[in-house]
């Protein structure tokens, strides 16, 4: 019996570590490129000297050093953390709806977060003066939860994947309309703020943003990892999950809270970013050839980081000095993945 069970392979750790090594390599490459390339070019040799110097003696006063430490590095780190967070958030929604097309953007959750953030920016700014990132995150979190519950309410009535998508898009439009309505009646000053933000960008990232996103996203991702076991059982459906001893209701609540927390961080700090939440987990699963959550969650995080750092690099360099919105770039790469998934699923169902 013993030698028999050894041939029973459950999961493929070799492949997992191969994929992780690939992603880490790509992330390193992306980080190096990101630090090097920009409107002010800094020679690679200088960069590493500055990095080394900066780490030992603090940030230098030269322009180059300032650009590196105050602009490029925080922006890059923010893109990496939020990209990873967005991917995991999408993955959790896919687990929740048992639907690979679910994601914070297509289900209108990002738009809901944007709406509440917009309202906060326009109306609360009057009373509070400046709006701190924490307030924005809270607003985005509230918006995410609000829209998630609306989508949930509808999702009980429909069982087809494409209907869920349509509902999400419609809800997204409604939120967009409410946001536009507020913008119409807002002061010009607030609108400029909002427009910049709502385009979605990592530009202007500060160390404070990086610290805040790390402080919220990393526990969120650890939380998701701690749920690996029930997540894999939940893939068999609620009936089986319950019969194996999962308390389904609290589990679902925790899933939604974690997913909303992660996507709210992204929406609050970088604006709505489209399709990362669907495309990245899908690409990750295809690379891993497995749905095992213990593999997919960490790999999705790093894959999302790589994806967003590269997209951000393109966003700021392709038409430099004009910067593209990050969502523009992620859509170009992300939307085709979604179309491909829809077509492939359709074929399977027939």
């Amino acid at each position: 019996m013993k030698e028999n069970t050894e041939t029973l392979r459950l999961g493929n750790p070799g492949r997992f570590w191969g994929v992780m090594a690939l992603l880490w390599g790509l992330l390193l490459l992306a980080l190096v490129l990101n630090v090097n390339i920009g409107s002010v070019s800094i020679r690679p040799g200088e960069i590493y000297a500055m990095l080394w110097d900066g780490l030992r003696h603090g940030v230098g006063s030269s322009t180059e050093s300032q650009i590196l430490f105050r602009i490029r590095i925080p922006r890059m780190l923010l893109a990496a953390i939020l990209g990873g967070a967005l991917s995991v958030s999408g993955y959790l929604l896919q687990v929740f709806f048992r639907n690979p097309i679910a994601g914070p953007f297509v289900l209108g959750i990002s738009s809901g977060a944007k709406m509440v953030v917009g309202i906060t920016l326009i109306f609360l700014a009057e009373f509070l003066g400046s709006v701190r990132p924490v307030t924005l995150i809270l607003a985005a979190f509230a918006g995410s939860l609000l829209i998630t519950s609306v989508v949930l309410l509808f999702s009980q009535k429909v069982h087809s994947m494409s209907m869920l998508l349509v509902i999400g898009i419609m809800v997204g439009y409604i939120c967009g309309a409410v946001t536009d309505f507020c913008v119409t009646f807002a002061d010009d000053h607030d609108v400029v703020n909002l427009t910049n933000w709502s385009m979605g960008t990592f530009s202007g990232a500060s160390w404070e943003d990086v610290g805040l996103s790390a402080a919220l996203c990393l526990p969120g991702i650890l939380g998701a990892l701690a749920l690996c076991k029930p997540i894999s059982a939940y893939a068999l459906g609620e009936g089986y999950a319950q019969s194996m001893g999962i308390r389904v209701k609290p589990f679902r609540v925790v899933l939604i809270l974690l997913s909303s927390l992660l996507s709210a961080c992204v929406t609050a700090l970088a604006g709505p970013i489209s399709f990362v939440g669907i495309a990245v987990p899908h690409i990750t699963r295809s690379l891993l050839k497995s749905s095992k959550p213990a593999y997919v969650i960490p790999a999705s995080f790093f894959c999302g980081a790589v994806f967003c750092v590269f997209c951000d690099l393109l966003a700021r360099t392709v038409f430099a000095p004009t910067e593209l919105a990050i969502g523009t770039v992620t859509s170009i790469f992300g939307a085709p993945v979604v179309i491909y998934m829809m077509i492939r699923r359709k074929r399977q169902e027939v």
């Binding site: 019996m1 013993k2 028999n4 069970t5 029973l8 392979r9 459950l10 999961g11 690979p100 701690a226 690996c228 076991k229 894999s232 059982a233 893939a235 068999l236 459906g237 009936g239 089986y240 319950q242 019969s243 194996m244 001893g245 999962i246 308390r247 699963r285 891993l288 050839k289 497995s290 749905s291 095992k292 213990a294």
Partner: protein, 372 residues
């Protein structure tokens, strides 16, 4: 023997509306209970209620001497495992992984499988003859394979009770028998108590220790197959207006052709059955005889023939029987000789053939008829 599974005045339904009430089941360890009854009668509702997927309305359910509500979810998972009708399609998941999920109540916080767990997965897959499927993608399986893997998942949970909702739906006859055979084996060897619902009444009677007839508001019957399947119990359970169920064979016959008999079939020893079925398909009413009542032909003739001339088991065929058959035969336009061998005991049949030839009624021999 103290029942392992028991319900007391259980009432089940949806949203507080009672669908079925007064369900009282007592089931000893290692017994198989099958729920039969028409579609929509509430078989699934009962099964969902006893597995806590559905809130019970009143009454109580006991598993292992403890009421369902008292069990902690994870402890209950070690008692009761399920095979549901849900069509699940987990992506990129191998069969071994699906089966291994059955270890859920036993593994640690991160679901790490110990050697014991792996051995249990192996054993469960072996039980259902599914080892060669271990590395296959679950969503690429055929219905029969999928059902076996889901059963392995349930077995891997090492439960005392397995509840299966229509496990044989979508399966072809070979897999049906294979699956039920595995259940029987589990009940016999591991003392697992099995509760399932089936559409195939013939199989239900053959595999179960107890049957529960579910129809309408209350339970129409609960007991051993012999107790429950009294004459016409099936016909009334399913409101069958046409056709019939033979409880000796557990087989179903189509409705008998209506009208006065036009053909007389001389049969016996099983030769008559294919003839009867063919006439039924063509819608030709017929009479048949002379049959002994312990003849297989008699079982089918009873339900398909407009008139049967029969002799009680182990009694002699007399002139009276011949006279009765001759009267019927004279009214018919044709006679079919099913090919039954003629011996001392049924020489009346030989006399009938002779009579037909004398009277000028055409006699066809079945073998010759089917040959051309």
């Amino acid at each position: 023997m103290e029942p392992y599974f028991k319900t007391e005045d259980l009432a089940v339904g949806y949203d507080g509306n009672i669908l079925i009430h007064d369900i009282n089941i007592r089931l000893e360890k290692g017994k198989i209970l099958t729920l039969i009854g028409p579609n929509g009668a509430g078989k699934s509702t009962i099964l969902k209620s006893i597995t806590r997927h559905l809130q019970t309305i009143s009454g109580r359910v006991f598993v292992g001497g403890q009421s369902l509500q008292q069990w902690q979810p994870k402890e209950l998972a070690k008692q009761v495992a399920v095979v549901l009708t849900d069509r699940i399609r987990p992506e990129l998941t191998t069969c071994a992984e699906v089966v291994a999920m059955g270890r859920y109540p036993y593994t640690n916080l991160f679901g790490r499988l110990t050697e014991e767990d792996k051995a249990a997965v192996w054993e469960a897959m072996e039980r259902v003859h599914g080892l060669e499927l271990a590395q296959r993608d679950f969503s690429a399986l055929s219905d029969g394979q999928r059902q076996r893997i889901l059963l392995a998942r349930a077995l891997c949970q090492e439960p005392e009770v397995i509840v299966l909702d229509e496990p044989t739906a979508y399966l072809d006859i070979r897999y049906k028998i294979e699956l039920l055979d595995i259940l029987r084996e589990m009940a016999r060897e591991k003392g697992i108590t099995v509760i399932l619902s089936l559409h195939e009444i013939d199989l239900a009677a053959k595999v179960s220790d107890y049957l529960l007839c579910v129809k309408g508001e209350t339970i129409a019957g609960f007991g051993t197959p012999e107790q429950v399947l009294q004459s016409h119990a099936i016909e009334s359970l399913y409101d069958m207006e046409a056709g019939s169920y033979n409880r000796l064979f557990g087989s179903v016959e189509m409705p008998k052709p209506e009208g006065k008999p036009r053909v007389f079939v001389i049969a016996g020893a099983g030769f008559g059955i294919p003839v009867y079925r063919e006439l039924q398909k063509k819608g030709i009413p017929f009479a048949t005889g002379i049959l002994f009542e312990n003849d297989v032909d008699f079982q089918v003739a009873q339900t398909l023939a407009s008139a049967v001339v029969s002799v009680p088991a182990f009694e002699e065929m007399t002139d009276a029987h011949f006279a009765q058959a001759a009267r019927l035969l004279r009214q018919c336009a044709a006679v079919i000789d099913a090919g039954t061998p003629l011996g001392q005991m049924n020489e009346g049949n030989g006399k009938l053939l002779k009579l037909a030839r004398e009277e000028g009624i055409p006699v066809t021999i079945w073998k010759e008829m089917t040959a051309c």
